[in-house]
Amino acid sequence: MVRIITFLLILTGLGFHSVYGQQRTPRRPKKPVNPYRRTYQQGKFLVPVDSTSPQIPFVHFPGPLAKGTSRATLGVTFTTSPRDITEEIQISIPAGDLIVLHGLTDKLALTGRFTFQFLQNNASVGLRYSTPIKGKFYGSAGADVGAWFGSLQLAQFNNRGFGIQSAPNLAIGFRSSRNLLVTVRGEVDLGLYYRSRVGQTVSDRGEILLNGYGGTVTLEQAFFGQRHVALGFRALYTNFNWQFWSLYDTFDRNIFYPEAFIGFFL
């Protein structure tokens, strides 16, 4: 009995130790400051490729990005549901949106995008080749390949969906001032694979389909002091939009999906 009480006292003592912080865990060592963040905080936002390079960060603008430089935005997109599919209900569906750009060479960059809604998510990677065209104009060509996955296991749904898509794209950028970048981008929406499961019944197809096409206008700009944002609008005309996979649209025609987005530079 005495042993048990002693043991419990020891345990209790250990508990008090941690509660009152008498036994401190060692502090984590400070991370080295990201050189990009340091220059950003100093108001220098880019490693200039040439004397005309923009002075603000960008992920959409088709300007060359110095080798090894990374940029990222975290923001939100709002896609309006089309009445063709959702009928009397028309809502803007929000999704988290992380965009990453990493310079592989001075003109070639790796692109990445993760759009997340938890029940359905889309991750894509791609390559982008950018070059100055003339004066304040820049251009880029690229292609993304991405996969989406959705799972709806609630109420009257027992569905899962998965698909692979690709989006070859061209963009033209205009540097209206060193603090405002305007980008117009066109893309082709290709479906590479689709699979859906309802209960135990599965449907899939593997042929390459031209789903549709889209156009995006983006402004990248300084915003309230040192904060920078990418603000844009995307008009997507497509036969399939992964965000609405669970509605099983069967129209064989392109439907207009307006999408507004804002991203804050990290």
């Binding site: 749904f157 309802v198 609008f233 099983y248 069967t250 129209f251 025609r253």
Partner: protein, 433 residues
């Protein structure tokens, strides 16, 4: 950057998006080509006897022509009785790709059979005209002979056809060869909203009397319609909560249909294709007197007086019995509130009803049909349990061809509710048990 500049730039982006978003004309109804029956209205042309029409029904192989209508086609007749003594018979051909279908009228001209009409793909706006001929050497005599109701042999009848796009010249060949009879299983092909959605650009608006008249040509053996009640209690057929441009033409009226009397709706509101919002009784009159539909699913969207709906249901059920019609009118119960209203009826257990809630509720109210949502999957144990209790199982609202095919082939359900009745009809009729 100032806040005002931010607002200006945002407005610029929105404006650019708006311009990019304009797409005029894509919501227009697909017009049925006009040159439909010119080739039938010739001297000496005779209407087809019922046994000839019956003999034409079957599954045909596509023997010649492009594969855009698939490898097999199911032929099925229907009729529309416009008034006593004025009945038009239509032969519909149901195809696999893209919900394609043909609607044809037929005549006997000399010793041949001639069919003319139009084709349409329901999932898009493609349409055109078509003409088929069965000459004597290709089996016309087997269809015209009085004893033709004996089963046809494979290859015995050949439809030689041509079709074209829009109102253009019919210069593309399509030859059909008789293969086998239609799948005889008793199965309900239920057309959503009376026959199809307005957004599928049909020539009649959803939930109208006109779409009911079209439903059988689209392959339906039954229809689902949406019931609401006007301010003065008149049961009407309308889907949405609000009067809106998706379903109606522009008027001065806004808000819920329940805020208006029937006379106000009748006077001022027109559906997208110009029809009036019909009373429930008008729709049931059309079903009973003008079509051969077997099932009506009254989806009680917003019903305040369930007793009135029951009375109407019983009245038309009795009329159908008196006319010798095989017609069942079900009261659809999509939510707990409707079930509670239905259960308050003293004789609810004897009434024909469809329960969209779970199986325990269906048992409790003695629903004659259990109707789960298709997105739950086939639910085979529950479905079999319901069927063993003598209930039918319909699923709603399934439009995806790949899933329709699998659900039909698995032989689980007694009916499928769909916006694409031609697809359900195709997979059902060609299915070999």
């Amino acid at each position: 950057m100032t806040f005002s500049r931010f607002i200006i730039y945002s407005l610029f982006v929105t404006w650019a998006g708006y311009l990019a978003g304009c797409r005029p004309g894509l919501n227009d109804t697909v017009l049925i080509p006009q040159q439909l029956t010119d080739g039938l209205n010739v001297a000496g042309a005779k209407l087809l006897y019922s046994q000839t029409r019956k003999a034409c029904e079957g599954v045909y192989s596509v023997a010649e022509g492009s594969p855009i209508f698939g490898g097999e086609i199911a032929a099925k007749w229907s009729y529309l009785a416009k008034k006593p003594g004025d009945t038009t018979y239509y032969m519909s051909l149901f195809c696999e790709p893209q919900a394609a279908f043909f609607v044809l009228e037929g005549r006997q001209i000399g010793d041949s059979l001639v069919f003319e009409g139009f084709w349409r793909r329901l999932v898009n706006a493609e349409t055109g005209t078509a003409r088929f001929v069965v000459v004597e050497a290709n089996g016309a005599s087997a269809l015209l002979a009085p004893d033709c109701c004996t089963a046809l042999k494979k290859g015995q009848v050949i439809f030689k056809g041509v079709y074209g796009d829009g109102d253009g010249v019919r210069n593309q060949l399509l030859t059909l060869t008789y293969d086998r009879p239609l799948n005889p299983k008793d199965f309900q092909i239920l057309a959503h909203r009376g026959g199809g959605r307005t957004s599928d650009l049909l020539p009649a608006s959803e939930n109208s009397v006109e779409i009911i008249r079209l439903a059988e040509r689209l392959g339906a053996t039954g229809v689902e319609i949406d019931i609401r009640q006007t301010q003065d209690g008149v049961p009407i057929i309308y889907h949405d909560n609000q009067l809106n441009l998706r379903l109606t033409q522009k008027t001065g009226l806004i808000g819920a249909v329940e805020n208006y009397t029937f006379d106000q709706l009748d006077a001022f509101v027109r559906l997208r294709n110009g029809e009036k919002i019909p009373r429930l009784t008008q729709v049931l009159d059309a079903v009973l007197n003008e079509t051969n539909l077997q099932t009506v699913w009254l989806d009680s969207k917003d019903v305040r007086d369930m007793d009135l709906i029951r009375t109407i249901q019983q009245t038309y059920q009795q009329r159908a019995s008196q006319q010798g019609r095989k017609l069942t009118i079900y009261i659809g119960l999509p939510a707990e509130e409707r079930v509670a209203q239905f259960e308050a009826l003293p004789d609810h257990a004897q009434l024909q009803s469809i329960c969209e809630l779970d199986t325990s509720v269906a048992r409790r109210i003695n629903a004659k049909v259990w109707a789960p949502r298709w997105t739950l999957g086939e639910q085979i144990p529950s479905t079999l349990a319901m069927q063993q209790q003598g209930r039918k199982v319909f699923i709603w609202t399934l439009d995806v061809p790949e899933f329709i095919q699998q659900f039909v082939q698995n032989d689980t359900f007694d009916g499928i509710l769909s916006n694409y009745a031609p697809i359900v009809a195709y997979y059902h009729y060609v299915h070999q048990q």
